[in-house]
Structures are given as C-alpha cells and as structure tokens.
C-alpha cells in the first residue's frame, strides 16, 4: 500500500494536465468530474497510505520512494524521491482532505464563472505542487514544489485579471514572496556547497556533527527562515497576504489560509535539526512569531472587509506557529497548523457563502442578522469561530493554541515576555473573531440575502468546521487520560525539547487562564459590537482614536513604509538612469564603427584605377613589412 505514495501528487497533476490540454473543449460537467475526482482519489490514497504507514511505520519512521533520478552533473545527483514520516504524513493528509473539500465547494462557488476550467486547472496544479513540497525528500525537489505553489498563488490571486487591482495584488504577492525565495535558494546553495548533497535526511545527519551555534548553521538557518517568512506572511514580509484576498474565496481558503502560507512552518519543522544548532536564528523565529501575531491581531480588529479580517487572522495564527517553532515546540506548531487548516478554511468558506448570498458584499457592517436567513452557515461559522477563539467545551480543539502558550512559558529564557505577548494575542483573537461573527450574524438585518446558498457549498463548509472542532479529540484524551495522542506521535518524528509542568495543578491553572482570556475577548466583542457600537464609533472618531484606527487599518503602515523605502527610491534611480549609464560604452563602440564605415565608404567611388592604386599601395606596404621585418 505504501508504494502507492506516488499517486498522491500524481493524480492532481494528471487532473491539471487533462484540464489544461482539454481547455475549452471540456464541458462544465467534465471539468468538475476531473478536478474533484483527481483530488478526491488523491485524498483516498493519502488516507490509505497514511493508515498503513501509521500502523507499520517502517524503520526510523520514514518511508521513502525513489521514482527516478532527476539529473546528474558530477556529484550533484538530485533524485525525485518522496518521503513519508509523521510530519509529511500530517501535511499530506491536511492538504488532500482540505483540498478535496474546497474543490467540492468551488464547483458550486465558481459555477457561473467563465474561467471555470482555468480555475480548476490552477487549483489542481496547486494541490500537486503542495504535495510535492511536503513529500519531497530532496531540497531541490522541495524547491520545485515551493515555486509551484508560489506560481499557483500568483495565478489564482490574479484569477479575475480584468480588474487591474487584482493583477496588482497578484504581482505584489509574487514579488514579496520572490524576495524570500531568493534567500531560500541561496540557503539551499550554501547547504549544497557545505555538505555536497541536497537530501534532507543526509543534510540533517551532517548537521548533527556541528556544535551548537556554528556560524554555518546560523547563516543557513537564517536564509531558510527568510524564505519561510516571505511564504508564510510573517513580519516584515507579511504585506502581500491581505491584498491576496483579491482572489476567489476558495483560493483564499485553500492557499492563503490552510496550506501554502504554512509552507514556511513546514520548512522550519522539516529542517528543525538545523535550527536546533542555530539558537540565534531560532530565537529570531520566536520573536518574529510573537511580534507578528500581536501586530496582525491588532490590525484584524479594525478591518471592515470580512476577508481581510480573516487574512490578518491567518497572519496572526501563523505567528503562533512560528512562536512555537521558535521555542522548539515543533509538534505544538504542527498541531496548531492542522487545527488552523480546518477551522480557518471553514471560516473562509463561510465568508464565501455570506459574500455570495449578499451578492458580493464584503463589508461586515453592511451584513448583519444573517442568523435567521442562513442558519446552517451560522452554526458552522460559529463552530469555526469558537475553535479559533479556543473556547472549551463547545469546541474540542481549544487546546492547540494553549499547548503553544504552555511551551512558550516553559521555554525558560524570555519565555514569560513571549508568553505575555501571545496571551494578549489570544485576547485579541477572541475579540476580532467574535466581532466579525456577531456583526455578521446577529443584530439587525442590513441586507437581505438573495437566495439560499447551494448545498455543495454548505456541506464542505460544515464538514470542515466540524472536523476543525473535533480533530483535537485524541489530544484531549491525552490530557485527560494520558493516552499518547497526536502530539506525541509528531514528537516521535521530530524530537525536540518537550517541557512538562511540574504539577498538573499548574497546568489546570494555566488552562483556566486561557479560557478566561477567550471568554473576556468574546464578552468584549459582544458588549462593544452588539450593544455599544456607537461608543466604539465615538472612540475611533476622536483624534488619537482615528489616528490609531487608521494606522491599524493600514496594517501598521508597512505598505507606506515599503513604498517610501523601496519603491520610490527605486523609481527615482530608474528615472536618473533613463539614459542607461552602463549602455553608453556599447553605444560608443557602435558610433566609432559607424564613423569608420563612413570614412571607408568614401573610397568606394567606382573608379577602377583608384582601386588598382589601393591594391598597389597595399602590396607595397606588405612588401615593405616583409623586407624590413
């Protein structure tokens, strides 16, 4: 069964090829069957392979399947090899299952779009690239998937390319992530020149021989981190994600919430042995995570556009994952990735349902009172929101964020400061989540929904929401009965420093604090946005309030900063260099040649005797040279 692993990325790739080659000749129906079928079968194979691997984990926990050798240049021989261990198994299952459900949702969401076939071709290519990224055993192969998802992200953000703003958002996403990709590529080169191989396992084995804090490890880890930061929309390269919401909502759910943006988390998790040898880089990871989660959460509180709220929320939640990675709690980061993939894509799908029901309305303050009209969507959205805000016992996945907070507290050095930042982020998370949920679904009705959402949009939405709420059950059993759950399963593959509280009483106290934080956040949201909206408006109308609001609304002005720090000077230099200074040399060569040409063409006067004189003079010169030299 394990040998079927290659089918997992191959099926969506085949679907992509069929859709691209078929183009407009394929009927609407055929496109749906190919797109949903390929991802569906891919998910089934992934589950079967995963179950087999889980039961009979091959020696060392990693199963690898070499398909063929990619190329061979001297000692450099990257191979197309898939590798399955606890980490890539988790990622593979999330990508295929969430991918499949979102494909089903998209058949209804995109039904009326003229680019139906194109959309699913890109989506299938994305799923295939993402699977290559998580299953690759070779850094070069991983890089192929890394660039593949970047390409699909660009194509899908700019999917409605007739609107200039969408194209601009797509280009922005491409350029910003490109900055990180370059750093990642340099990191890969560095690893190759140092170790002579790009096989991840071989590199990690080599790294084990280095002392902690070796310069090579720190530099390589920092370069990989730069790539991860750009891809995962972390400070200071987070600016592209809110704009990326220009793409269709299923794209935001799949690419910009569940899977691609967590590629950075995966990369750091995959290379965790390298990061353990690079404490400086690891500490930077933690600081980036803590800062990002807080700044993004502040921005999320001020947004009006439902998709931008979710985008900032995604940045913030990935910040939690980075924070967990930064303190070495690999398993906690991946666990939070799993739950986040489910509940955040559910929230996006819910946003899509609401947006479509209201005829393309994005502003939450023009929604409201949708509870009666869209009951299924209301409940599914609430479950996902509760999971995001981490409220037990309504959701059973409340502890994914708490695990991170516990590990941060226990990580020792500077743990308390980071913990305080993350806890403040928790409060904001509950606040912005329920601000959105209450404003959209409760209160007076603002806009009447046009029609009932289609069944095939509600079903995947509800399933994802439910999965998000119950996926933490094994973990909960671990906490209550001591059964070794998912956390320990992951930890077996990614050994890291696992800290435990001295007494279970302390753990319960912390658990109580987290619940209280979430409850306070929700209560604040209810009071402010259900009963005292006028008060909130009056606060933001004051001078300081409006300044702060504008700053947060613009995402802390990073766009403004980059425009004035990078874009404007660049344009100025380009304008100065309009004549192209470097080119002058080559232009001069051309001018001199042309001058000589004009001089020589004077001699071509049609006078045969003149030519004969030229021949004679030449002969005299040559003879003279022969005689004299």
């Amino acid at each position: 069964m394990l040998s079927l692993l290659w089918l997992v990325p191959a099926l969506p790739l085949a679907g992509f090829l069929i859709l691209v080659l078929g183009g407009k000749r394929l009927s609407h129906q055929a496109v749906s069957v190919v797109a949903v079928g390929s991802t569906g079968f891919s998910a089934i194979v992934a589950i079967l392979v995963g179950a087999t691997h889980f039961r009979f984990a091959p020696g060392g926990g990693a199963y690898s399947q070499t398909l063929w050798q990619w190329m061979r240049v001297g000692d450099f021989a990257p191979s197309v090899t898939l590798s399955l261990d606890a980490l890539s198994l988790t990622m593979m299952l999330v990508v295929t299952i969430v991918g499949f459900l979102i494909h089903v949702y998209s058949t209804a969401f995109m039904a009326a779009d003229e680019g139906y076939g194109r959309f699913f071709a890109y989506m299938n290519l994305f799923v295939a690239s993402m699977l290559i990224l998580v299953l690759a055993d070779d850094l070069l192969f991983l890089y192929l998937g890394w660039e593949g998802v970047g390409l699909c992200s660009y194509l899908l953000i700019g999917f409605w390319y007739k609107d200039r703003d969408n194209v601009r958002a797509a280009l922005k996403a491409f350029w910003v992530t490109r900055a990180g990709d370059t750093a990642l590529a340099i990191g890969v080169f560095l690893l190759f020149t140092s170790f002579g191989t790009l096989r991840i396992h071989a590199i990690l084995e080599n790294v084990a021989g280095y002392p902690v804090g070796a310069p090579l490890c720190n530099v390589a880890a920092a370069l990989l981190l730069a790539g991860a930061v750009a891809k995962s929309a972390q400070l200071p390269l987070q600016v592209w994600l809110p704009d990326a919401m220009a793409g269709p909502t299923p794209v935001s759910a799949l690419i910009h919430a569940a899977t691609m943006v967590t590629a950075g988390v995966y990369l750091i998790g995959r290379m965790h042995a390298l990061f353990l040898k690079a404490p400086t880089a690891l500490f930077i990871v933690a600081v980036i995570g803590a800062t990002t989660l807080l700044l993004a959460a502040f921005s999320a509180v001020t947004q009006h556009d439902i998709k931008r709220i979710l985008a900032y929320s995604t940045i913030s939640q990935i910040g939690y994952m980075f924070l967990a990675l930064g303190v070495g709690a690999w398993a906690a980061a991946i666990y939070h990735f799993v739950t986040h993939a489910f509940f955040k894509s559910a929230l996006f799908l819910g946003a899509g349902v609401v947006i479509q029901a209201l005829g393309g309305e994005h502003d939450i303050f023009r929604m409201g009172g949708l509870r009666r009209r869209l009951p299924v969507a209301f409940w599914a959205f609430m479950f996902a929101a509760l999971t995001l805000a981490a409220v037990p016992p309504l959701t059973l996945t409340f502890n994914s964020k708490d695990l991170i907070l516990n590990q941060v507290w226990l990580s020792g050095r500077s743990g308390a400061v980071l913990w305080a930042l993350a806890a403040a982020g928790s409060l904001l998370t509950a606040l912005y989540t329920f601000r959105m949920a209450f404003v959209v679904f409760l209160g007076p009705e603002q806009t009447r929904p046009m029609d009932k959402p289609p069944l095939w949009m509600l079903v995947p939405f509800a399933v994802l929401s439910l999965l998000g709420a119950v996926i933490g059950v094994p973990e909960l059993l671990n906490a209550l009965t001591g059964v070794k759950g998912f956390y320990y399963y992951l930890d077996s593959a990614m050994s890291g420093p696992v800290h435990e509280f001295d007494a279970s009483v302390t753990e319960w106290v912390f658990q109580g604090i987290y619940v209280a934080i979430s409850a306070i956040g929700i209560a604040l949201a209810y009071v402010f946005y259900e009963h005292a909206l006028a008060y909130v408006r009056s606060v933001t109308a004051t001078r300081v309030g409006s300044l702060l609001h504008r700053l947060l609304f613009a995402g802390w002005g990073f766009d403004w900063l980059y425009r004035h720090l990078i874009a404007v000077p660049y344009v100025r230099v380009a304008r100065l260099n309009r004549g192209d200074v470097v080119d002058l040399l080559y232009v001069a060569v051309a001018h001199v040649s042309r001058g000589i040409n004009m001089l020589l063409s004077l001699t071509v006067n049609g006078n045969v005797r003149w030519y004969a004189a030229g021949v004679a003079a030449g002969a005299v010169v040559v003879l003279g040279l022969v005689v004299l030299l």
């Binding site: 071509v604 006067n605 049609g606 006078n607 045969v608 005797r609 004969a612 004189a613 004679a616």
Partner: protein, 103 residues
Amino acid sequence: MTAIVPVPVGLTVAALLFCIGLIGVLVRRNIIVILLSIEMMFNACGLAFVFAGSYWLQPDGQVMYFFILTVAAAEVSVGLSLVLQMYRQFGSLDVNTINRMRG
C-alpha cells in the same frame, strides 16, 4: 652560354618596367594605354622569371614565361573585345565615363 647581363641589373630592369606599367595603369585614362601598361607589367614579370631561372640554371623560368605569354594573349583578346563594346556603348575610350558602379 655566359651571363652577359648580371642578375641584379636584370631584376632592376624588370622592377622598373613593372613600375612604369603600374604608373601607366594608375594615371592614364585611355583604356587602350591601360591595356598596354598591363602588357608591360606582364612582361616585366616574365623577365624576372627568366632571370631567376637562369640564376638557378633551371628551365622553369622560361616555361613560366610561356604561360604568362598565353595568359597575356587571352587577356588581350578579351580586353580588346571589351574595349570595342565600350566604344560602341559610350563612344569614348575614357575609363572615367564608365565609373557607374560607384558606391
């Protein structure tokens, strides 16, 4: 057979003849005279060959002169027919009137 004329003198005469022919080609405009000058250059070359052959006591120099003579005869026959055509077309023997392939 004794060498009546020493080799350096003979070669100098050949070189002088060649230069006179060359100057004739370059400065005269009458095409008949130009052809005449070319004949002169041919014969200067032939003279040099003969002197060289007699210097090394080889018959090759004189053999070469026969070839030159043949080529010169062919050249004169083709050249004179061209001159004839030129005179019919342009009514002049001045080469400057036919410099139309300029530039």
